[in-house]
């Protein structure tokens, strides 16, 4: 992306609350931002190391529950709770990374699904801590110094900052030696190892950063909806993240963000016309079609068609 284009997009993102027609549109923008963080998080694993996590909702949920429980039960303020959510989700990522360091492909998928399944069952059954299926209402809105970030506009900027942070972290990571090691692992693990890439170290690192980022998204979600229940572990969250990354373009930085905006705005736009089940059905069909016809995703596809047209 050119510098001008990037600046233009940043300007749009920064002034969005000024020209969006209603609070509802701002709500959609906030959700798109939260999913942007989640999609960037999944992209680090799926797009760069090539490992598909189908338990990413677990890290999201761990972040949401950590933040909600600390602010509700221990009356922590938002910022330390956010930090704890990121740290605990990252720790869970470390655990999964260490556990599955010998596993690849389908086996990694299964371990992540199982992990999410166990965590979800714990959230339903450990009623003293999590209030079981009823969930935890009344999660407080975050505060920044003397100001409460209760309004949608304020929260939008908080989420935007989180997206920017996740983007910068991804970009720095991917552009560094570490990112090249990730890609080397994805392309040919044996070859990467033979030239001295420490496979275990880098896979665990990718899992930790990815999970921590999902924890950030979870905490933002909890303090935005002000309510956390075992539904945060729903598989549909993971599916949505996967679709966003695969559709947008895995292994690109802009792709997951494009996917997040598209797949938050599109269902909202279709909401009047269709029910939720039709959307999920369409997601499934779309995933099949994308894998078959546009396997690299929207952003790489567009880039490729642009670079093919000769410049004047």
């Amino acid at each position: 992306m050119t510098r001008v284009g990037g600046g233009f997009l940043a300007l749009i993102a920064l002034t969005l609350p000024l020209w969006l027609p209603s609070a509802y549109h701002l709500h959609v923008a906030i959700m798109a931002g939260i999913f942007g963080v989640l999609a960037l998080s999944l992209n680090l694993l799926l797009g760069y190391t090539g490992q598909l996590s189908l338990g990413h909702a677990a890290f999201f949920g761990i972040g949401a529950y950590t933040s909600a429980l600390l602010t509700l039960k221990l009356e922590w303020s938002f910022w330390p709770a956010l930090a704890a959510a990121i740290a605990l989700a990252g720790a869970a990522g470390w655990f999964i990374g260490r556990l599955s360091l010998k596993l690849r492909g389908a086996y990694f998928v299964l371990v992540t699904i199982s992990f999410a399944g166990v965590i979800s069952l714990v959230s339903v059954n450990w009623i003293e801590l999590t209030n079981g299926p009823l969930g935890l209402p009344g999660v407080p809105a975050p505060e920044l110094g003397p100001w409460s970030l209760r309004t949608k506009t304020a929260y939008y900027y908080l989420v935007l900052a989180a997206v920017a942070l996740s983007y910068v972290v991804s970009r720095r990571l991917v552009g560094s030696r570490i990112g090249r090691a990730f890609v080397a692992l994805r392309e040919n693990e044996a070859l990467a190892e033979s030239i001295g890439v420490d496979v275990t170290h880098y896979l665990v690192l990718a899992a930790v950063v990815s999970a921590a980022m999902a924890g950030l998204g979870g905490s933002l979600y909890a303090h935005y909806t002000r309510f956390v229940s075992p539904e945060v572990f729903l598989f549909s969250y993971t599916v949505t993240m996967v679709i966003m990354v695969v559709a947008g373009g895995k292994g690109t930085l802009a792709g997951p963000l494009v996917g997040a905006v598209l797949f938050t705005a599109l269902p909202e736009a279709l909401r009047a016309a269709t029910s939720w089940q039709w959307q999920m059905l369409a997601y499934g069909v779309l995933l099949v079609l994308l894998v078959v016809f546009m396997p690299r995703g929207i952003v790489p596809h567009i880039n490729a068609s642009f670079s093919r047209t000769p410049r004047p």
Partner: protein, 290 residues
């Protein structure tokens, strides 16, 4: 002691159907190198097909189970021919994503057709349990166990004794060599996927009346099938059978002696532990079939 025996019997009933699920999945993985995340949806399909056959066509319960198996086989065949065949030379990750898409699409199509309310499937068996010494078993559950064992035996015979089974084993060992020897790989793949899906549908039609039929029932079934396959080792048919029975018993014991809320966690924990410590499965020296 009597309680333990009762748990064992209940576990075997569940385990028989888990074995059916596992055998189908392990064949599809071993032969086609496809990680079939839609496997549980064929289980759901079986339950609803039986329900529809009973409710709409008004057929006999046993015919309904057969109809479910036929529907499972037909849709499995269709799925292989339309989606998997064009992708045969793609990587395992590509087909895995496609099957995840099929899973989501099938589940929500079922939700649209049948609604979210769980359906109870009627069956002709008396509800009073048969008391056999220290254990009691509902006649329906006994029927489920008998049919499951029969289907497992039939699968074994198919793989070991028929020409199709020999071609399947050859394809498993070496696809290219089998093709050179005149085995029609496309036909074998379609037959394998149809067969595996039919077994999953049979499990759904059998367990549907024991529990309830609802659109997301396949999610847990998929995970259980994967637990079974991982327990037994990929592509290992006796392993999948034993693994299924083992998982059923382990779940019953876990629910009985630890906490019923964590019943379904048993499968998850088994997946994680086995993959960590015995990634080739409990019973196998290496990945193999039949």
């Amino acid at each position: 002691m009597e309680q333990l025996l009762q748990h064992l019997v209940n576990g075997l009933v569940l385990g028989g159907t888990y074995a059916l699920l596992g055998i189908g999945l392990t064949l599809i993985f071993g032969l086609m190198n496809v990680v079939n995340f839609a496997h549980g949806e064929f289980y759901t399909l079986g339950a609803y097909a039986a329900f529809a056959a009973l409710g709409w066509a008004g057929v006999d319960f046993f015919v309904a189970v057969l109809a479910a198996i036929a529907v499972g086989a037909a849709l499995g065949w269709l799925c292989e021919v339309t989606l998997l065949r064009p992708l045969r030379n793609e990587s395992i990750d590509t087909t895995m994503l496609v099957m995840i898409g099929v899973w989501i699409a099938m589940q929500n199509a079922e939700l649209l057709v049948w609604g979210g309310v769980a359906k109870s499937i009627p069956h002709p068996f008396p509800t009073a349990p048969l008391v056999l010494g220290p254990v009691a078993i509902a006649p329906l559950r006994l029927f489920v166990l008998i049919i499951a064992v029969g289907l497992i035996a039939a699968s074994w015979l198919l793989i070991q004794k028929t020409k199709l089974g020999r071609a399947m084993r050859a394809t498993f060992q070496d696809r290219d060599t089998a093709a050179l020897m005149g085995v029609g790989i496309g036909r074998i793949h379609a037959a394998t996927f149809a067969f595996g899906s039919a077994l999953a549908a049979a499990a759904g039609a059998l367990l549907g009346p024991v529990f309830l039929a609802y659109p997301s029932m396949g999610d847990l079934a998929s995970l259980k099938a994967f637990s079974v396959v991982i327990l037994g080792g990929l592509g290992n048919l006796p392993g999948a059978t034993l693994g299924g029975l083992l998982l059923g018993v382990a779940e019953e014991l876990g629910a009985g002696y630890i906490s019923s809320g964590y019943r379904d966690a048993v499968g998850f924990v088994i997946i994680i532990l086995v993959l960590l410590f015995r990634p080739a499965g409990l019973f196998a020296r290496q990945e193999r079939i039949a």
